[in-house]
Point group: C2
Chain length 324, copies 2
């Protein structure tokens, strides 16, 4: 970290001088978006600042254990003298929470760990070696000498845990564990946070997972399954999208190198989740079909019906396995 | 840790003076049994000792990534001058690997983290605050100044990870994370170890999980399912026992306080796995039916047929929920 020390110093200066701070994060916020947002919000409030956390979409109910998560507003009207943008690689990813006419002239601190970040801020702390934006916020707070409370620590540990899937992703380093340890020592209950942020889910999603696993096909070292709207209705599943963790479960089998799950949306489009074991790369396939992602986890959306989407994608995935 | 400093010093003395060491662990060895056994074996071999690791049952194939795991013998004949017993609370848990006539007169170092340990060794390092026996072995090696190699570190991190289910259990402390961080710094690949030791499983077990989730019942806040031998045959599942992670998955639902899975064994007996959310206790029920365990995870075995076992246990579990 600290790839650009002057940016860190400039960010600290802007934060210290500001009085009314608008802190925002990306649409469809994940645990790192919410965790880094609330961690920074609590910390700056501790310094006497007025801080307004905001995001286009409300946080997922699973993050309700985080203090103050209901303060996150879905509109960002107001008088501010500083904008802080967290975990967001470009302005478009902020969605409707960014109001160009009002926010465009504010000094802007960008804090992010995505290598694709466009450095669109006045000051940009972009550290791709960090596991999560929360890990960068922790480093910044320590540099600023801000005391860590249990609320700050729990929010930041939520970011670390969710972006590493519980220390399981390859961006997990001993620095990540050092950060987690420090956050625990400041009152963040690690096992409880893992349970709430990563493990717990609805019984509906378990039913969907069960149906998907029961109907999954294993062809060579490719596993795949389809989840239709009809199946959701039959199971009485309320959630209109999502795969109940199915694709992430299929890829855990020893016999599987590549996994795919085809989810029929209410629009009739087919959302396709792809996963690969280390050594295999599904990102290129996702890209070819207009999507994107990483070697190990990628996705795309195709027109329906289901059969057509399956017939287009499955042969291509089999080629990935053959050619690896 | 270090609840009894003189035991630590005595253990170090015995280990340093020994030449031919037999190191053993409990029947049906889990990741902490295998990890602490191999970590200590590698370390003592590094000190020039002859070390024979042994266990009644061979390690699960999922631990094949650990160097030297095939050296673990299923018999313990031989000339030894020290016996080290790892992760084992009483001699009976060693099964047939302990030969009273041959081993009974050897000095014995016991290293364990189970609070139920009977302190049956000549020297007993029993530290119930440790997450795992591997964490104690790490502390002992550091105390002895033994250099940590990647092989030692990977074996010990396997113990830490498996006994905490990936830092998810309530015995995970910031000391546990400090140990994990140190082991990573000495070459243990944390994400890979989590994947191999905790996440990966057979496609068969996924099929079983799918069938179990699909047929699971939710009655009030109790979820339960049955896995018959007939179902295994229909699914073509080779593994004769186990629940494919079903009970551990059912308890992850928001709607569920207590989960139970009834597994029909080839003997016709019914093996029952119980899980509870924090605040609920299934250990008493397991105990009443002749089993045991902890508040959050317990189990017992009852005579068949399935229906009788279900009819005995389910009403009792509903009472647990009502009375909590």
């Amino acid at each position: 970290m600290l790839s650009n020390p002057s940016a860190w110093a400039d960010a600290e200066g802007l934060l210290r001088r500001a009085h009314a701070i608008l802190a925002v994060t990306h649409v469809s916020p994940d645990g790192d978006a919410i965790g880094s947002l609330m961690g920074l919000t609590h910390a700056l409030r501790g310094l006497g600042k007025t801080v307004t956390p905001a995001c286009q979409d409300p946080p997922h109910p699973r993050f309700e254990y985080l203090k103050g998560v209901h303060d996150i507003r879905q509109s960002a009207e107001g008088d501010f003298d500083l904008l802080v943008v967290l975990d967001t690689s470009d302005l478009a990813r902020l969605g409707t929470i960014f109001l160009p006419a009002q926010h465009g002239r504010l000094p802007m601190v960008v804090i992010d760990h995505h290598v694709t970040n466009l450095n669109f801020g006045t000051v940009n702390i972009v550290e791709p070696t960090a596991s999560s934006t929360a890990e960068i916020v922790l480093a910044l707070l320590k540099k600023m000498g801000v005391p860590l409370t249990p609320d700050i620590a729990s929010a930041l540990l939520t970011g670390v845990i969710t972006d590493t899937l519980g220390f399981r992703t390859s961006n997990t380093t001993s620095n990540t564990l050092a950060a987690a340890m420090e956050l625990m020592q400041h009152g963040a209950p690690l096992p409880e946070i893992i349970r709430r942020a990563l493990v717990m889910r609805s019984f509906d999603s378990l039913r969907l997972l069960g149906a998907g696993l029961s109907s999954a096909k294993l062809e060579g070292r490719l596993a795949y399954a389809t989840l239709s709207q009809k199946l959701r209705r039959e199971l009485g599943v309320q959630e209109e999208r999502g795969d109940g963790g199915l694709v992430g479960t299929l890829i855990t089998a020893y016999e599987v190198d590549v996994a795919a799950v085809f989810v029929e949306l209410t629009s009739g489009e087919i959302e396709i989740g792809l996963r690969a074991q280390p050594g295999f790369d599904v990102s290129q396939v996702a890209l070819e079909f207009g999507g994107g992602g990483h070697a190990a986890a990628a996705g795309c959306t195709l027109p329906g019906p289901m059969r057509d989407a399956v017939n287009r994608v499955i042969p291509r995935l089999k080629r990935v396995i053959e050619e690896t």
